[in-house]
Subunit: 500 residues, 2 copies
Amino acid sequence: MLQFFTLDLLPAKNGEEPTMQFLLEVVDILTNYVRKTFDRSTKVLDFHHPHQLLEGMEGFNLELSDQPESLEQILVDCRDTLKYGVRTGHPRFFNQLSTGLDIIGLAGEWLTSTANTNMFTYEIAPVFVLMEQLTLKKMREIIGWPDGEGDGIFSPGGAISNMYSVMTARYKFFPEVKTKGMTAAPRLVLFTSEHSHYSIKKASAALGFGTENLILLSTDERGRVIPADLEAKVIDAKARGCVPMFVNATAGSTVYGAFDPIHEIADICEKYNMWLHVDGAWGGGLLMSRKHRHKLRGVERANSVTWNPHKMMGVPLQCSAILVRERGVLSGCNSMCAGYLFQPDKQYDVSYDTGDKAIQCGRHVDIFKFWLMWKAKGTIGFEHHIDKCLDLSHYLYTKIRDREGYQMVFEGEPQHTNVCFWYLPPGIRDMPDGQERRDRLHKVAPKIKALMMESGTTMVGYQPQGDKVNFFRMVISNPAATRSDIDFLTDEIERLGHDL
Amino acid sequence: MLQFFTLDLLPAKNGEEPTMQFLLEVVDILTNYVRKTFDRSTKVLDFHHPHQLLEGMEGFNLELSDQPESLEQILVDCRDTLKYGVRTGHPRFFNQLSTGLDIIGLAGEWLTSTANTNMFTYEIAPVFVLMEQLTLKKMREIIGWPDGEGDGIFSPGGAISNMYSVMTARYKFFPEVKTKGMTAAPRLVLFTSEHSHYSIKKASAALGFGTENLILLSTDERGRVIPADLEAKVIDAKARGCVPMFVNATAGSTVYGAFDPIHEIADICEKYNMWLHVDGAWGGGLLMSRKHRHKLRGVERANSVTWNPHKMMGVPLQCSAILVRERGVLSGCNSMCAGYLFQPDKQYDVSYDTGDKAIQCGRHVDIFKFWLMWKAKGTIGFEHHIDKCLDLSHYLYTKIRDREGYQMVFEGEPQHTNVCFWYLPPGIRDMPDGQERRDRLHKVAPKIKALMMESGTTMVGYQPQGDKVNFFRMVISNPAATRSDIDFLTDEIERLGHDL
């Protein structure tokens, strides 16, 4: 590769040999990375501050220049990009809801980028469009909608899926907003848990409702919406002249992993004629498990559901679906019938040109990796994966529940794999409750996290929540994790936090 | 691979060997596909109707089942998925604005999916976050904003980038809409060309303006906005009590490839205090060319710019940037400060946690392939690529301009690579102008296109526009295309269309 440049590669004349050689060298870098990802003797990350990477590490310079670099340097750039990144598939990476590196999913992504096409029409993505339709139907069947009827689309992440749900609800109740704008509707209000994901708030702002018209619902100590609070707030909003339109029930909240009681919420939605959305971005995967799907009891009563296979089901990023019970409302909401893409006079059945349902025009192919994983694992394989992750979090919970130096953020077995806890260094264990202890405890998790990242051994998230000071939120979605990794994490927390 | 299943792969014990073997077999399939993509003796596509693929081709069944499939079958599925797809990198694929298969970009995507991380924080995407910042700055410099100052983000496609521009404009002028909703603002109107991309209309609907408050501007015969029409419509809107807020100028329209006169539009925007957005999704790439960037003269006066490297610059899908001149307004518009992601008490400079600027939460890494291509080609390489594509379209234009059987949709040299023309089969050449001729001509392009797809030899788009019946829109963004491919296309149109 020493002497070659990008202009020597295909489509250049005689470009085939250097192209193949270059791609195989890249693959060699990637397969080495895959190997190391699963190797517990490697670090999760090799942390550097922004200014260090910006100044340039030896041989790795982020700046772009006018002149081309040799392919040899490009290979070095690839190696270094991985070197200074974070191994999100490492068995000890617990930092996000999306972890793990599924080999089939990875192969699916490689193929997707090689096919390099776009989801807007059957014309240029025939196989992927059909895979999307079949997979969405399967997901709707699993939700429990009769014959898997309904509609849906894969979107670039759960936040956009949730945004779709609000848009679709608005179109269902006030279709004139599409043409006349929000001033054509009465003052609409939306409801969601104080523990729900911030994307509902982002959607309220973006779509023109305003965040003040998103009413936050109180939760019990486990983070689950209190249905009576919803009803009281609906009545209050109506009394103030507002029109309650949309309720989001979270199935698997981001921090606590809480599942809102869907049936009770659905009763209220029916009574007051509101759209029920279930944000199952994180918890939707539990529908695949006969043991755990009861946590989403009532989901079949939802008007729409967000479900991110890229979280609990281990599919590579991104893969998020918005599913809608009623057919037609999603396309009614979004279609604009652009003549240059969606010609009615094509030679095939143009009902397969699904792109006009999207708020996007071009849409990345997110389906193939998921479809391929489903083929390779079977429905049963996803069930095993999910049951295993929940077993592991049960192991962690029972391990630390009564252990000295740990305090659970809420009582009782977590509903999802989220285990929320404080680690109390010996120095503060005997301090009396009060502001000073709170202040010190608030600093413990960030300090341990910083030390973890600097040593590169493991990663886990932390945050405050309401009046609770910083605590760790452990989540497990990585099939590579085992009990020994859980033990490693708690040992590491104790090692790094002991003297704080 | 015969006996293996996904459970035999990593993280399984002894999973390393089958994992490497499996990945290399996948790579073998992919590199074969790459090789064939550039081989003109292969077809662009092997067309099948939806019902044919749904019924299942031999050995290829799209249905998902409960039980896992063997890795051997998974490899067959991969092969067949590519077999029944469309080779968007083929030198004779001219169907979309995004074509081609850049080898460096492809390698970049393979690496991106292997890294499998998310753009929301520096914490889990340190290298990618910095690459995004540096690249956006470089793009802003090229736009001509002093010192590359400003803000921006990569988004999932041009439609979302355009949506960002409308949201950001609204926040700049009426920040209270974020909290109070659209009812807190006066009746706002937006302006865009009748030739502009439909995403502006989608944004008007989604964000709560209403499509009726998007005012379409008249264009000249080349599809360029007439500035006087804008000013007249602004004055008229004000007289009706509306508040003109936002103007979209298109730099490279989807069908005609027209560039709106930005300077004249900017003058009007300044005069009436409106946000100027330039939708350069398609034409932005021309900024890289010293020869062609004059077509975007005045772009530095825009408040925001959409620019999709995945179109004219040949970057794999998806790669779209929204760039904003004023710092702070993008994050002001979108930030919600979620505590679980954007902790203020991290050990590093959290101004690098850029995720809160997005309407997404998780965000796919779209930057790496682009950064890597820039490294490999240099700025100069993009310039060559763009100049070459425009040279090719000039070749096509001069070839068919006066050729018998062709009629140009508009007079004069196209501004972008879009060449719009009718092919007139001999049977209608001598027909008198009138409804019958129009009706017959309207059917010609769809028929030729259907025959092309069935024979699989080439692909080019068609559409009607306003009162013009179906015509071909030829676009060139593929670096693999040569004059011989252009000749092939016209020969093919004549061969397939001769007897219509």
